[in-house]
């Protein structure tokens, strides 16, 4: 482990912590513009986090210690995910700690904690949210795994760093399988981040909520942590998507300068990604919860097709 790598790791984590709320703010801003509303300030998520941290925590009377522990655990999981996913550089000392499969596991762990916390107070909406979250989770996971399988077939590895390095270094070749996997990954990310066709991050209509229903009982610093963790998750998924499907510009091992150069590129990529996300959310309507299986089933199908096409066209051709 080099000093440069260590610094790079710390820098990546700090960058994730700082950039994640900014990304959320940017998406909200884009969406407001696209919907002809006046946009909130770009830094709105920071103001909100600061305000929430200052406020008292109001706990339901029968909230258990698990309820208070869960936000920290979820935040920790997301931070770990952000530390592993190469945003600027593939030279991360923490990267060998988890490959893509373990990354899916980290997200799963966070999901379990937040679902359990949702069930803890024992309200109607909480358990509704927890149940739906697990529903989305078990539908999204197989699709995500098939995406990973396709990528692993191309790069002969499940380690994120190796996949990124393989894909960034290849000559420009059109992989239909990669395109399929990319679309499937987009679908999965939308579902996992409680975005529009599956969930609506801006909703306040109780019966349609998933993510919001789970965190109804949270307040103060706990809510702040959960919101921050949600931003981190969006950031993590965005970076993962960028790293897997648009890996150009991510710095290689032992190259601190390239890493600095990668930062503006990352910002541009995230900016475009945020715009696209806002556009998707504007164009689509939220679907009924029981259409979600079909949506994620389509993602699964795409990923499997990607895998099969890879096996048919690209391995044997």
């Amino acid at each position: 482990m080099s000093v440069g790598g260590f610094l790079g790791q710390l820098f990546a984590i700090a960058l994730a912590l700082v950039l994640a709320p900014l990304l959320t703010g940017w998406v909200n801003q884009c969406r407001a513009w696209l919907q002809n509303r006046s946009a909130p300030p770009l830094l709105q998520p920071y103001y909100m986090l600061h305000k929430l941290f200052r406020k008292d925590v109001v706990l339901a009377r029968n909230a258990s210690p698990l309820f208070r522990f869960a936000p920290f655990a979820v935040f920790g999981c997301m931070l770990l995910a952000c530390a592993i996913i190469p945003s600027l550089s593939t030279d991360l000392p923490l990267a060998p700690a988890a490959d893509t499969l373990a990354l899916v596991g980290v997200f799963g762990l966070a999901r379990i904690f937040i679902s359990l916390a949702a069930m803890d107070v024992g309200t109607a909406f909480g358990s509704l949210g927890g149940r739906r979250e697990m529903l989305v989770g078990f539908l999204a996971e197989p699709a995500l795994l098939m995406v990973i399988f396709t990528l692993a077939l191309i790069s002969q590895s499940t380690s994120v760093a190796t996949i990124v390095e393989t894909l960034a270094h290849r000559e420009i070749v059109i992989y239909p399988s990669l395109a399929f996997a990319g679309i499937a990954f987009t679908f999965v990310s939308l579902a996992e981040n409680a975005r529009v066709p599956v969930d609506n991050p801006a909703t306040h209509l109780e019966l349609t909520m998933i993510h919001e229903a789970m965190i109804l009982e949270y307040s103060g610093r706990h809510l702040a942590l959960i919101e921050w963790a949600a931003s981190l998750k969006l950031y993590a998924y965005s970076c993962l998507g960028l790293a897997l499907f648009f890996p150009w510009g991510i710095a290689e091992r032992d190259n601190f300068l390239a890493m600095i150069a990668a930062a503006p590129l990352l910002l541009i990529k995230l900016g475009i990604g945020g715009c696209l996300l806002a556009a998707i959310e504007t164009v689509n309507a939220k679907m009924r919860i029981f259409r979600a299986p079909e949506f994620l089933g389509t993602a699964f199908l795409l990923a499997v097709l990607g895998l099969l096409v890879r096996l048919l066209l690209e391995v044997r051709a």
Partner: protein, 222 residues
Amino acid sequence: MNAGVPLSAQLINLFAAVILLLAFAMLAQRRVMPLINLFGLQGLVLAGSTLVVAVTTHQAHLYWSAGLTLLLKAMLLPWILHRLVRKLYVKWDVESLVNVPATMLIGIVLVIVAFNVAQPISLLSHTISRGTLGIALATVMLAFLMMITRTKAIPQVVGFLAMENGLFLAATSATYGMPMVVELGIALDVLVGVIILGVFFFQIRDQFDSLDISHMEHLKDG
């Protein structure tokens, strides 16, 4: 791994993959109009892939068949079907005998079958695009599946036409297209077929007040 594969082959593979994707999209589609649009799109992509083969192999007749495909499958047939749907007031949802997710799963199985069946055949061929033979076969099978699982007449016709798309793809990928005469003949057949079917639709609707072909079950003797 993929190093050394020429760009044209990559493009053909990409087009073929998109055709397969569109076949699945058609299988999943619940509405009639988008179904026809998807079919049109499939025709367009097919024309594109034929064009790439034509450019790569410099075969004049392939230009012709690309143009013909574009004209017939991407424009004329969708237009006829659109008109039919509008004339017949049949903008209903497509009803399916098997639910959509199950159809999809069957579809995946069919794709695996098709890929494996086509593999030994494609080894015999020496064209740059032989890998797409499996996809072509899969497209045919998926179209067949669509014809089986749909209860209404228009989706069945679309399925029939999509099957022809698959055959055409197989022809270009395995042998760089059929002789021009055969191709023209098939194109004409398809066109005439659709027109005749269109006439039939009106007859069926007059008879049963519906295009649900399950009514035809009552046409048996006794």
